[in-house]
């Protein structure tokens, strides 16, 4: 069973507010799922290369050319709060 501190730490990393009830449930479910994953550790993977992508593509780059931007109104259209031509959020500590 995962420590409650691990669940707390991971929820902080993921920036998810969870209720105490959710945390308890999460702890049980994550523990069960991870138990299921123990199968992976049966395999000797020491000599294996990891696969991050399955496509045989390399060096896919674009030319340094300027294209169209969005109209400003489209940039701001979905923002929950704006002020003037900016997206607004509650104050971020300057010392951050």
């Amino acid at each position: 069973m995962l420590d409650p501190e691990v669940v707390e730490h991971v929820s902080q990393l993921a920036r998810l507010t969870l209720s105490d009830e959710e945390k308890d449930k999460m702890r049980v479910e994550l523990s069960k799922t991870l138990e299921h994953f123990r199968a992976l550790s049966e395999l000797d993977t020491s000599a294996l290369p990891p696969t991050a992508q399955v496509i045989p593509i390399e060096n896919n780059m674009r030319e340094d050319a300027v294209g169209d931007c969005l109209p400003k109104d489209d940039v701001l259209a979905n923002a929950p709060r704006t002020r003037g031509d900016y997206i607004r959020v509650p104050a971020v500590l300057k010392a951050f």
Partner: protein, 458 residues
Amino acid sequence: MLDRIDGVDARVRAYITLTPDLAMRQAAEADERLKHPDAPRLCGVPLALKDVLSTRNVKTTCGSKILGNFVPPFDATVVGMLRDAGAVTVGKTNMDEFAMGSSTENSGFFPTFNPWDLDRVPGGSSGGSAAAVAADECIAALGSDTGGSVRQPAALCGVVGMRPTYGRVSRYGLVAFASSLDQIGPITKDVKDCAILMQAISGHDALDSTSLRAEVPDYESSLHADVAGLKVGLPREYMAAGVDEGVRGVVLEAIDRLTEAGMEIVDISLPHTEYALATYYVIAPAEASANLARYNGVKYGYFDPDSDGVEELMMNSRGTGFGAEVKRRIMLGTFALSSGYYDAYYLRAQKVRTLIKRDFDRAFESVDLIATPTSPTVAFPVGEKVDDPISMYLSDVMTLPGPIAGIPGISVPCGFSEGLPVGLQFMAPPLGETVLLRAAYAYEQLAGVESATARKAV
């Protein structure tokens, strides 16, 4: 078509958003184009789009409350391609939130019901698209498949669903779940429609760096090529315990019939199949934890108005905006990538991914295709698995290994068990879409397109 939707969608609930005005406008344009003999095959055809595809000026929710009011300013590449082909888009279909699920019960809005039995799920996560096709609420639809989300609901709804080779169809504008696994695929009433839709959406896209440059074959004409002599591998691991007896029987019978068309059935082994589920459920949530990080109530989407300060606003918006399964996977993925656990989970899963891919590489040295059931069960009752994540995850056990290896797959209806549709899955090597379509088409011709509409509930 819009009338049909009016008639049945209150019961099926396939659509999140309907776009009748847009559809009427597109239909009028299509009528003009159809006066010319060289109008594209899709011209005027009413299609549905899974709500994971970005549509300009049309709400795109991804089945999540966190994007409940989100209206993108751009079209996904495939949406642009369909529009250029003259297709008429009738609406955006329901789905498990952020494509995480196998029943469409994880939609942030409402569940979708299986047109064959309204007490059962349509599968997922593209359950809205599969149900819409099965209930004649569109001619065909697009879904997205990360671990089986096109093929599994297609099987459960008795329609055709195809997952292309990773990189065959542009992912630009497909809201990301697990970037190294996601692909867009068609859901259609028959294999021929599937080929036509594949033709329209395949090809290189400069906006997707993982998009393949390989030329797109003529899928429709490839349907008629001879299948005699094709070797079809039957992996013993897929017929092991866990597959419903009824499903196993129907699928084995269907595979037997392939010999009538001259195909040869060969027993094969994909020895690392049992590790696919764990591999997938480490890699996909890990990628998802980063892909879903951007939903924080700052630039777009749901935000929690009662929060104190920006940190709390962002955390609360996510805590409230995401549903339980999404939070579960974000937690799982964050854990798998976090310091101290990365090597044991994420890195190890990537290494096992190598083994699973090698299994397929080796298998395709001796066979042209692999045939399996698409899903271990038929459509299950609504609510049956919703509180048991692992048993829900097992619904995709037949469809997960293919995406891990990046290979294409197709599900075709192959009969009924307990009065519900069963899907036969074919898998092929990378860029083997033509052989998939050929085999599926050949099977469809043998079996006859089941005219079982009478058995449907709507």
